[in-house]
Point group: C2
Chain length 256, copies 2
């Protein structure tokens, strides 16, 4: 196994072969707000996982013991909640620079599985080491807390979306969300190449696959987007945004 040997060597000699400081994603990731020298200390506890995951492979399974958190380096990942097939639900999509596994701290094991949507490379960070280093580097602690706080906020927004918005607005919200995250990463904001299937999208948005498919068609026929399979072009982002912000029913302020 030539490959395996090669990979092993890479790992043993090059835990921080490419420093976090030199990483293109450092503005989105843990290093944000950390001094140059401290970044090297961070890099020293980051290990790149040897072979990239291929489409469909699991980074970890639901129930796995929690040892490390991961940052997507390239590719994308979906979080899947639910042990047995059938009640499987996608709870999130993660792009390069995003940190996953933080939801496992409390219980000590991963509540969801992480599964690659395409060929995906990740950085692995032992949690014990991360926690210790966060104590030593104030900026790291701060950024870690910020990222977790942002995650809470995002999940809450999704709660509101899933709990109250009609199907069309859910899809519009997802497209806008992906668009802005793509843009942050240097991809064109209006040309999305979705790595996830309609099935994944439907599961994430709490809809049936058929509904998602119909919605893509409808948004296209209304001139808001152009769809060709997983290639989506946002033609009228403002209209999409207006959809999402749409005030539904007009209720009055009511007591406590």
């Amino acid at each position: 196994m030539l490959t395996a040997t090669c990979e092993t060597k890479t790992r043993s000699e090059g835990t921080h072969q490419v420093s976090c400081g030199a990483c293109a994603l450092h503005r989105l990731c843990l290093p944000l707000g950390i001094d140059k020298e401290d970044i090297d200390r961070l890099a020293s506890i980051v290990s790149r996982r040897r072979p990239p995951l291929r489409r469909g492979e699991y980074l970890f399974h639901a129930g796995d013991a929690f040892r490390a958190v991961y940052v997507i380096r390239a590719g994308s990942v979906k979080m899947v909640n639910g042990s047995r097939a059938g009640d499987e639900r996608v709870t999130g999509f993660y792009l390069p620079g995003e940190l996953i596994g933080l939801d496992a701290i409390a219980a000590g094991n991963h509540p969801c599985a992480a599964r690659a949507l395409e060929t995906t490379a990740v950085c692995e960070i032992g949690y014990a080491e991360l926690e210790a280093l966060a104590r030593a580097i104030p900026g790291l602690q701060r950024q870690l807390l910020r990222l977790m706080s942002g995650e809470i906020r995002h999940e809450r927004d999704m709660m509101v979306l899933l709990g109250g918005m009609p199907a069309g607005e859910r899809l519009a919200a997802l497209l806008l969300n992906l668009s802005s995250r793509f843009e942050q990463r240097g991809f064109p904001a209006r040309e999305l190449r979705l790595s996830m299937s309609r099935h994944d999208i439907a599961s994430y948005l709490g809809l049936a696959v058929e509904t998602v498919s119909r919605l893509f068609s409808r948004l296209q026929s209304e001139g808001l987007i152009s769809v060709r399979r997983r290639q989506v072009i946002i033609d009228d982002g403002d209209a999409l945004a207006r959809l999402v912000a749409a005030p539904l029913s007009v209720l009055n302020e009511n007591s406590p």
Copy 2:
């Protein structure tokens, strides 16, 4: 104003009049896993907010600058998302010992308002101080991260609930959740005195008030609970739990 004077005095002289170590809630709250002496340091940055909030009063509003986090000492609070009336949505209910405000760290202001459901007392903890102290006390940092992680996990569970479960199971899940949290706090697990209105419950679960009302009636007629207004008795907790765990459709494992 005798009361006001008294309260003011209490605050100025007794920021940590009742130490966190002596607090009945310390097993649920930040002090968990912290040494006795360190608890005093924690107590020194905790201030009790002077007059308790009365039903309907706000602890903070959506958009308020983020300065502190709060722990419910007594009473209960709802988190309300949405600026103007109409798109108001309840995103959570918080009981004694629970920490709120962590979702504000990332953006620097509160995304949701916190509103008292009944007479409610809180502890206020300046975030700058908390962050600094977390660096000095490993156990505190750990507990803070654990709490945030738990919050992420909980919000995610709610996402799954709201995205995929029928109305009846949503209500059942809420009742069971409240039941176990009541129990942790020393209240009887099967006799719930709900502090929130049907309207709040409906908003939280993403349902219409009428649907919630009907569901209470239905669960009662099925013998699972006994309802008299906000007094709920859980007669068959196992049946409720079975409802929640119910596997819906049987889908097959499907690729990436």
